[in-house]
């Protein structure tokens, strides 16, 4: 339970910070690189989590493109630790924050932004004073969706975290284990709790946000 909450909270918080500039860039750029970047960000939506998990595992391993240099400088060993789990979770949930954020930014009236520039406000000031408040419902929806999605993630956790109780064992893994051990009662309790939790989160997210914010 604690592992799940910690993972989902950290994922949502870090992705909020990372996704703001990325989504703003995606919503406003005229660069020809945009479709490519958008596609990379969206990949986790279509890829089986095991594929992503496998590549991250390979990259983070002692001989991987990230793991090897990391080990060489005395960095932490990531696979089958909470840190590795977090890396996978961040990558896997990126589209669930970037896409709602970008949709919210794109919905902000361009002329309102231009009016702020012409009144002398810098781009950063305009972003903070005009764009952020006007896209708040969409941003909130993106954060909630990311959190909820991180809570329920199974495949990537299975590939990266293994199943270390208290360290990398999340609720969705616990259900899998319970079913494997034929402990249907325990599986029921956890599954029902996740179901209710997800439902409540979605209702709360939909309350302040625009109708389309969750679907984009």
């Amino acid at each position: 339970m604690l592992v799940t909450l910690k993972l989902a909270t950290l994922t949502a918080a870090i992705l909020f910070v990372v996704s703001l500039p990325l989504a703003w860039w995606s919503a406003t750029t005229t660069s020809r690189a945009r479709p490519v970047v958008d596609a990379v960000v969206a990949l986790p939506i279509v890829l089986p989590p095991t594929v992503l998990g496998f590549y991250v595992l390979a990259a983070l391993g002692p001989d991987g493109v990230v793991g090897a240099p990391l080990t060489a400088v005395g960095g932490p060993r990531l696979p089958f630790t909470f840190g590795g789990l977090l890396v996978g979770s961040l990558l896997f949930n990126l589209p669930f924050s970037v896409r709602p954020f970008a949709a919210a930014f794109a919905a902000v009236d361009r002329r309102v932004v231009e009016a702020a520039w012409c009144a002398g406000a810098s781009r950063l000031r305009t972003f903070v004073r005009v764009v952020l408040p006007l896209s708040a419902p969409g941003l909130r929806a993106g954060v909630v969706l990311t959190f909820a999605h991180a809570v329920g993630e199974f495949g990537v956790v299975m590939m990266l975290g293994g199943n270390v109780p208290g360290v990398t064992r999340t609720l969705s893994i616990a259900i899998y284990d319970d079913v494997g051990a034929l402990d249907y009662g325990s599986a029921h309790r956890t599954a029902a709790a996740l179901l209710v939790f997800s439902f409540v989160v979605l209702v709360l997210a939909g309350r302040g946000g625009r109708r389309d914010a969750l679907l984009t």
């Binding site: 002329r111 231009e114 009016a115 520039w117 009144a119 002398g120 000031r125």
Partner: protein, 360 residues
Amino acid sequence: MTLRATFAMKRGATTVRADVADVCAAGRVLVLFGPSGCGKTTTLRCLAGLEHPDEGVIRFGDDVWFDGARRVARPPQARRIGFVPQDHALFPHLSVDEHVEFGLFALDAAARRSRRAEVLALLQLQGLGSRRPAELSGGQQQRVALARAVAPRPRLLLLDEPLSALDAAMRATVRRQLRAALQALGTPAVVVTHDRVEALCLGDDVVVMAEGRMLQRGPVGDVFARPQDVAVARVVGVDTIVRGRIVAVHERIATVQVGDARVQARAPAGDGDGEVFVLLRAEDVALEPVAGASGASGQVRLAGRVVELVDEGAAIRVVVDAGFVLTALVTRSTRDALGLAEGAAVAVVFARTAAHVVRA
């Protein structure tokens, strides 16, 4: 301060070519006038720095805002302009007070408050400070957009179709208020519009644009009364534009054969083969009974028949065939007094000075 803008910018199929040199004296208003798609908004956005031309130079006083050759392109924030966008583009989440203070972030709190009070008073927005845009009338929204633009004391105001967001009933009132506000502010302004009444009411000078080109420039009244050629006449909405041929010129008064009629008017400048256009505004053409007195000196009087009557609400537009087809605007009472109906005989009367002759 002098605004000089000579630039070109490709927009789709047309290239907008601007060539403006305007002395921006206090309170003077330059109108960019033309049909939609003529490039006037693009020109305004280039002046604001929201878009950059492909080539050319824009200078304001000693400041270079854009120079294609030297790769200078200053952003809007660095130009000290005030911009009033079409449909106002107010901030939906901010109050009127916050709008006025939006551009005053460089001032300390006390100075900000006093400037805010000053601007609110100037634009008659006192008492509305805590309202959001959704709680304001169209005219009030327009004044808030203006207040946001002028609060930081810009050197040049740019207004894009400032009255287009208002319904027709409010437009006349807000137009007068806007004219008074622009004069009270004393900031030179460039106003984009496609509305003739707006141009006449707000502008001192006008630049007539069509298909990306600046066709004529001068005091608003002159340009609208005396377009230099038929292209400008079409843009400024001259009602009657007919081909004719000069048959005689005597003491600068030309006699022009137009269809089956002869019209006397001031001779056009310059030489030509005598092929001309005669331009007449409907409001300069009066209708009289056929049996009336013959035309007074300096008047042209032609007998004709009513072809069509169009009720425009404020006036009746009457199309008359008097040897050539022309249009007159008359009041309802004139229509009733003359018994105007399709086919009715009527005399058209206009001053020689009202007929404007340009070379074809």
